[in-house]
């Protein structure tokens, strides 16, 4: 059992949890993930590590309530409660080196996994330019945390309610067009955002890393459900990644595979909400 040490709301349906997992907290690195299971009937949820505190044994995770399990976690798991399983760290850590000037892009929930990478890049002596993007002001989080580890921070919202109106790829293009020497780009977020950013950096020949969140079961190399096509070869996001060379990733395949269970996910949410309503009525 793993106790929830703290829980706070970062935005609508976006919550940050610090969960007690001392093994992971001791060795977890930027770019790696854990698999979490709420209870006996739960699915294995892969979540990228945001922060590890070896002293308290706490592992910080940011969860967006998009499906049944994440919604249930938000509704029913409070500070002091425990989740059944946390396994990790899984996957390969980000390759942190002194590259020079680097750009870190976080779109939507991708801001959370970007944070430890930006922090590690900064600590390694890089000049770090951060670009954060969200659909709207209320969905933006961690601006302060990123500001603390970036030399320069650009904030974009799709609707212009905060920062500049536009997409992260617009800010990325402006920087590359300006002619600044960028050694490497990290782009983490929805598959479509990573695809667009990857297209921009390809034009300018800037090496780019993306973190792929394909559908996983075990997260340890055993099911192959998370396979992605990289440079024409099937790779497992869980053990060969989750980070890959963006210019070699088949994003269309990734998006198609991510959608495969949409129907079942909707059905699970519906069944969950119906159960919630019944519970509410009997109370």
């Amino acid at each position: 059992m793993h106790r929830i040490l703290s829980k706070r709301t970062l935005g609508p349906k976006i919550r940050e949890y610090v969960i007690e997992a001392p093994d992971v907290a001791k060795v977890g690195k930027a770019g790696q993930f854990v698999v979490l299971r709420l209870h006996e009937r739960g699915e294995r949820i892969p979540l990228t590590i945001v922060e590890c505190d070896p002293q308290t044994g706490g592992v910080t995770l940011v969860v967006q309530e998009v499906g049944k399990s994440t919604q249930e976690m938000g509704d029913r798991f409070q500070e002091g409660d425990s989740v059944l399983d946390v396994a990790g760290p899984l996957g390969l850590p980000s390759e942190i080196e002194r590259y020079g000037t680097v750009i870190g892009i976080g779109g939507g929930l991708g801001i959370a996994p970007l944070y430890p990478i930006a922090r590690a890049l900064k600590a390694a002596g890089n000049e770090v330019i951060g670009i954060l993007g969200a659909r709207s002001r209320d969905l933006l989080f961690y601006e302060d945390r990123l500001a603390a580890v970036c030399d320069e921070l650009h904030v974009m919202t799709d609707d212009g309610t905060y920062g500049r109106k536009g997409f992260v790829s617009d800010a990325l293009r402006e920087i590359l067009v300006s002619g600044r020497a960028i050694a490497r780009v990290w782009a983490i977020g929805p598959a479509i955002m990573m695809k667009v950013c990857s297209g921009v950096t390809r034009e300018f020949g800037v090496p780019t890393v993306v973190s792929l969140n394909s559908v996983m079961i075990d997260g340890t190399g055993m099911c192959g459900g998370c396979r992605v096509q990289v440079a024409g070869e099937a790779k497992f996001a869980c053990v060969d990644g989750p980070e890959f060379d963006a210019h070699k990733v088949d994003f269309d395949l990734l998006m198609s595979r991510q959608r495969f269970y949409a129907e079942e996910e909707a059905c699970a949410v519906e069944a969950y909400l119906a159960a919630q309503r019944r519970e509410g009525e009997t109370k």
């Binding site: 294995r44 399983d85 340890t220 099911c223 192959g224 699970a268």
Partner: protein, 459 residues
């Protein structure tokens, strides 16, 4: 007069069982077990014992059944085998103990597997016999992986008085017994029972423990373990490498079975993990895992379930019993057939393009090599495909132990008898060493390695 035929075991009827996940064979009654035990000749040479990878005293336990000493019978088995309820169900007895049974030269061999299963199930309904544990030696052994090899090694080492901790990276112990072999062939409650028996002996099992990442093998040895045994299995699914293999609806057998067995997707949405089975399921491969997948597909509601295998029936690597059960359930066999491409529609597989094959000259494996028949291309309409053509070594320990010697195929290089690797104090056994094989062979390797570890710790 000895009965020429083995005492049959009652089974669920095929038309009933394809709609449930309950076990297919129902077990022997006490009288049936005694009747079958009476067929044993108790021959002096006992070739069956040598035919058993863990060397169970087979005539001994059968004699005890015949005398209705069922408690003594299971005690005798457990001296050599920590997982009798599992082995009685999934061992290929026909090529091991029963394959060399003296009675089998003239008549049907004694149904040793069924008798073993009977004893284990009898014990579950009566008082459990926990094997005696030697006084503590003060030596600590880490076991990585809680599949058949690891559990066997753990039991053997614990019996000899060593302090044993098993590390499992999934959320339950049992390895392939839990995620791979379906409920209808090996009920998960039975696996849990056998693992609980090990826990009662004092074996510590830690789940969700990712050895390699939270601690490397070297760190375990540095932090107080006197030896380590690696039994991490053949968990990495292999694919055909043909076009369309990443379409939605194309599963590895590992994924298809893990969703169903470990995550209980057949109870979705009561359980959270979904699976999509479709109407027409094609399973590629001819081994036990392929049979398990094709039969699972039917139980998940597929209307038709096909096995596509490139050689002929005689070469099917699956146990005869599994093929028989599959046929009884209506699985359709497309033999001498090789898939060459998966065709899709809107990202989902819709058909498998196949070639007919014929058998040519024997290849390296000694089996006749299948060669394509020119112009024989055809399609099988299918909305779900399961690739069950084997698994490679689980990557995590080799990936995180760079100085561990591997074979050219990527398996851990270990001594065939002792399991010793090139690293001092580190042993390995089971599928991670041999490549995908059987539960009992992995158990044999675990047992032999345990003996070698014990000798090294006591010398």
């Amino acid at each position: 007069m000895i009965e020429p035929k083995a005492t049959p075991m009652r089974e669920q009827a095929p038309d009933v069982r394809i709609h449930n996940f309950d076990e297919v064979p129902l077990g022997y009654s006490e009288d049936e077990a005694v009747r079958e035990a009476s067929r044993c000749l108790q021959c002096k040479t006992a070739p069956c014992v040598a035919g058993c990878p863990v060397g169970i005293d087979i005539p001994g336990f059968i004699r005890a059944i015949k005398e209705r000493q069922f408690g003594a019978a299971i005690g005798r088995i457990k001296e050599a085998n920590a997982l009798p309820a599992v082995c009685g169900r999934v061992c290929p007895q026909e090529t091991q103990c029963q394959g060399v049974c003296t009675l089998g030269k003239k008549l049907e061999p004694v149904a040793i597997g069924r008798l073993e299963r009977f004893c284990a199930d009898w014990e579950a309904d009566h008082e459990a016999c926990t094997p005696a544990v030697h006084a503590p030696t003060g030596k600590r052994v880490a076991i990585i992986g809680s599949g058949p090899a690891g559990l066997t090694a753990a039991g053997e080492l614990k019996r000899r008085g060593h302090d044993v901790t098993v590390f499992e990276l999934l959320h339950v112990a049992g390895g392939v017994l839990m995620y791979g072999i379906p409920e209808f062939r090996l009920p998960k409650a039975i696996v849990k029972r056998e693992i609980d028996a090990l826990r009662r002996m004092g074996v510590r099992i830690e789940v969700n423990k990712v050895v390699g990442r939270v601690a490397t093998i070297h760190e375990l040895l540095r932090d107080g373990y006197d030896a380590a045994f690696i039994g991490t299995g053949a968990g990495l699914p292999q694919f055909l490498g043909v076009l369309g293999e990443n379409l939605n609806g194309v599963y590895s057998a590992n994924e298809f079975l893990t969703r169903t067995n470990l995550m209980r997707a057949y109870l979705f949405p009561e359980y959270d993990t979904p699976i999509k089975v479709g109407r027409r399921v094609v399973t590629v491969g001819g081994g036990n895992v392929a049979m398990d997948s094709a039969r699972t597909a039917l139980r998940l509601g597929a209307e038709e379930s096909f096995i596509v295998y490139r050689r002929s029936e005689a070469e099917l690597p699956a146990r005869k019993e599994e093929v028989h059960h599959a046929k009884e359930e209506g699985i359709q066999f497309q033999l001498l057939t090789n898939p060459v491409e998966f065709l899709g529609d809107k990202g989902r597989v819709r058909a498998v393009r196949c070639l007919r094959m014929e058998l040519g000259e024997p290849d390296a494996s000694g089996r006749r090599r299948p060669v394509p028949v020119k112009g024989s291309e055809f399609e099988i309409e299918s909305d779900t495909v399961v690739i069950a053509i084997g698994n490679g070594p689980h990557p995590l320990i080799p990936q995180t132990t760079p100085d561990l010697a591997l074979t050219p195929a990527g398996n851990i290089a270990a001594d065939a008898v002792s399991g010793a690797t090139n690293l001092r104090g580190v042993y390995a056994g089971g599928d991670i060493v041999t490549g995908a094989a059987t539960v009992i062979e992995a158990m044999g390797a675990g047992k032999r390695a345990a003996c070698a570890i014990h000798d090294s710790l006591c010398s």
